[in-house]
C-alpha cells in the first residue's frame, strides 16, 4: 500500500492510502472542494472522488449509474469473478436493487431501536468491566485497550455466543478483519476455524433457540424460505466487518478529541444530557467511513468522463466538512443544533447498524468520562490512524489527570 509513489496533486492523482491523506485528509478535501470537486486518479485502475456534500449525495442515491457490487477499493479493476450485481458477496452492502431491499429488510428488525435499546445494560457492564481492568494505571491506551474491545464484545453478546469464549471470539474476529480482502481461495482456508466455530454455534442455536441475533437469522425467511446456513454465516461475517472497526474508530476519535479539548470534556461531564447531540457532532466531524461504488457504464457525469468499472470513493467524511452544507464546517461545535451529517451514508444503503453504533458510542463515552473526568493525550505523536476506508485512531495513549 505504502509502496505507491507519493501524491503530488490530489486533484489528478488522489490516493486514500497516501501518508498525507492518512495523517490529515481535511486540508486535502478543502482544497479539492474549491479546485476540483470530483477529483480523478489513475491508481487502482482508475477512479473518482467527489468531495462536496451535493456530489456525494447524488452518487449515493443514484443506483442506476453506480453499483455497490464492490464497496472496498482493491488494486486494479474488479474482475468478472467478483460476484455480480444485484446480489453481490455480502448482502445487503454489496447488493443493488431490487434484491437489496429484500436482504436489508431481513436484518433491519434486529437493528431497530427497540431490540437495540434493550442491549444498553449489557454494553454498560462491558465498558465498565473493561475500565475496571485498567484501574490504577496513569496512562491507559483508550484505543487498543478500550474502544477496540467494545464492538466485538457487544456483537458476541448479540449473537448469543458464550461469554466464556470471548478470547477465542476475538481471535476469530481478527482472522476475519485480516482476511476479508484476501483472494477467495486464501480466504476460504483462513476462514476455516471461523466457519467451524460459527457453524457449531448455529447448530447449538438450532437445538436450543433463544432470543438473540443467531436465532433470529436462523428463523428468518426470504421468499418464504429459511436462509441457508451459508447465508446466515455470510450475514454474520458482514455484521462483524461492518460493525467493528467502524465503531472502534468512532469511539476512539471522540476520546482523542476530548483529550485535546478540555472545555468540551468539562461540558460533557457537567451536562450529561448533551451527549446525544455531541455524538452527532463527533460523527460529523470525525466520520470514520468512506465507501466505494463502481461506475456501471461509460458516461459524462458531473462533468467527468467516467468509464465503466471506474471506482468512486464516496467521501462521506468530506461531505460532512462541506461549508455549503454546514455552517462553520471546520469547527467542532459540541452543541450544534442543526446537523444533517452523512456519517452513516445516504439512500438505500444507510448504515443498518446506526442505532447500535450510536448506543455503543454513548455508553462507551459516558462510562469513560464518569471514570475519568479529566484526561489528556499522553504522547500526541504516538497516536496512529488506520489507513484505508475506515479511519480512526488505533494507538491512543491517554494520561489520566487526577
Amino acid at each position: 500500500m505504502t509502496d505507491n509513489p507519493l501524491v503530488q496533486d490530489f486533484a489528478t492523482d488522489w490516493d486514500h492510502s497516501d501518508p498525507q491523506w492518512v495523517a490529515d485528509p481535511y486540508p486535502i478535501w478543502d482544497d479539492l472542494r474549491q479546485r476540483c470537486p470530483v477529483a480523478h486518479t489513475d491508481r487502482y485502475g482508475g477512479g473518482w472522488f467527489p468531495s462536496t456534500h451535493a456530489g456525494v449525495a447524488a452518487i449515493a442515491k443514484d443506483t442506476k449509474n453506480f453499483t455497490s457490487r464492490n464497496v472496498v477499493i482493491g488494486n486494479g479493476r474488479p474482475t468478472e469473478l467478483d460476484l455480480p450485481a444485484p446480489i453481490g458477496v455480502a448482502p445487503p452492502i454489496t447488493s443493488d436493487p431490487p434484491f437489496h431491499a429484500l436482504a436489508r429488510k431481513l436484518i433491519l428488525p434486529a437493528f431497530a431501536p427497540r431490540p437495540i435499546n434493550a442491549l444498553e445494560p449489557m454494553i454498560r457492564e462491558l465498558c465498565s468491566s473493561l475500565l475496571d481492568g485498567l484501574s490504577g494505571e496513569d496512562i491507559v491506551n483508550a484505543g487498543t485497550k478500550y474502544a477496540q474491545y467494545i464492538p466485538p464484545g457487544v456483537i458476541r453478546g448479540m449473537l448469543g455466543f458464550p461469554e466464556g469464549d470471548i478470547e477465542y471470539f476475538l481471535e476469530l474476529v481478527h482472522i476475519i478483519m485480516e482476511g476479508v480482502d484476501h483472494p477467495e481461495e486464501e480466504r476460504i482456508i483462513e476462514f476455516e476455524p471461523v466457519e467451524k466455530y460459527f457453524v457449531a454455534q448455529m447448530e447449538d442455536h438450532i437445538d436450543n433457540p433463544r432470543d438473540d441475533l443467531t436465532s433470529y437469522l436462523l428463523k428468518a425467511e426470504l421468499d418464504g424460505q429459511k436462509l441457508a446456513m451459508e447465508h446466515v454465516f455470510g450475514t454474520m461475517v458482514l455484521i462483524l466487518v461492518a460493525g467493528i472497526d467502524t465503531t472502534w474508530s468512532a469511539i476512539g476519535a471522540a476520546i482523542w478529541h476530548l483529550a485535546q479539548n478540555p472545555d468540551d470534556l468539562a461540558r460533557l461531564v457537567a451536562e450529561p444530557d448533551l451527549m446525544p447531540v455531541a455524538i452527532e457532532e463527533f460523527l460529523r466531524f470525525y466520520a470514520p467511513v468512506t465507501m466505494a461504488r463502481l461506475v456501471k457504464h461509460d458516461m459524462e457525469y458531473q462533468g467527468c468522463p467516467m468509464k465503466q468499472d471506474d471506482w468512486i470513493l464516496l467521501g462521506f467524511p468530506a461531505a460532512n466538512r462541506d461549508p455549503v452544507a454546514f455552517k462553520d464546517a471546520d469547527t467542532f461545535i459540541i452543541d450544534r443544533a442543526e446537523n444533517r451529517h452523512v456519517a452513516f451514508g445516504l439512500g438505500i444503503h444507510r448504515c443498518a447498524g446506526s442505532n447500535l453504533a450510536r448506543l455503543e458510542m454513548r455508553v462507551a463515552l459516558e462510562e469513560f468520562i464518569k471514570r475519568y473526568p479529566r484526561f489528556e493525550l499522553a504522547d500526541p505523536p504516538a497516536v496512529t490512524w488506520a489507513p484505508g476506508q475506515i479511519r480512526g485512531p488505533r494507538n491512543l495513549p491517554i494520561r489520566i489527570l487526577r
Partner: protein, 64 residues
C-alpha cells in the same frame, strides 16, 4: 400545521425520533413514523422543525 414523513425517502436514520420523541416514533424496521395525524401545536412546532433540519434524507415535510 401538520408534519409528515415521506416513507419513500426515509431511510431510518433515526434522527427525528431521538430529537422529538413526542412527535415521531419508529416502526419495526426502524423507519420514522409520525405519531397520530401529525398535527402540530405551537409548542411542538419548533421540535418538529429541529427534527426536519437534522434529517439527512430530507424526508420530513411540514405543511400548512
Amino acid at each position: 400545521m401538520k408534519v409528515r414523513i415521506d416513507p419513500e425517502i426515509c431511510q431510518g436514520q433515526g434522527r427525528c425520533f431521538s430529537i422529538a420523541p413526542g412527535i415521531f416514533d419508529f416502526d419495526d424496521l426502524g423507519n420514522g413514523v409520525v405519531i397520530g395525524d401529525g398535527t402540530l401545536t405551537s409548542d411542538s412546532i419548533e421540535q418538529a422543525r429541529l427534527a426536519q433540519l437534522n434529517c439527512p434524507e430530507h424526508a420530513i415535510f411540514i405543511e400548512e
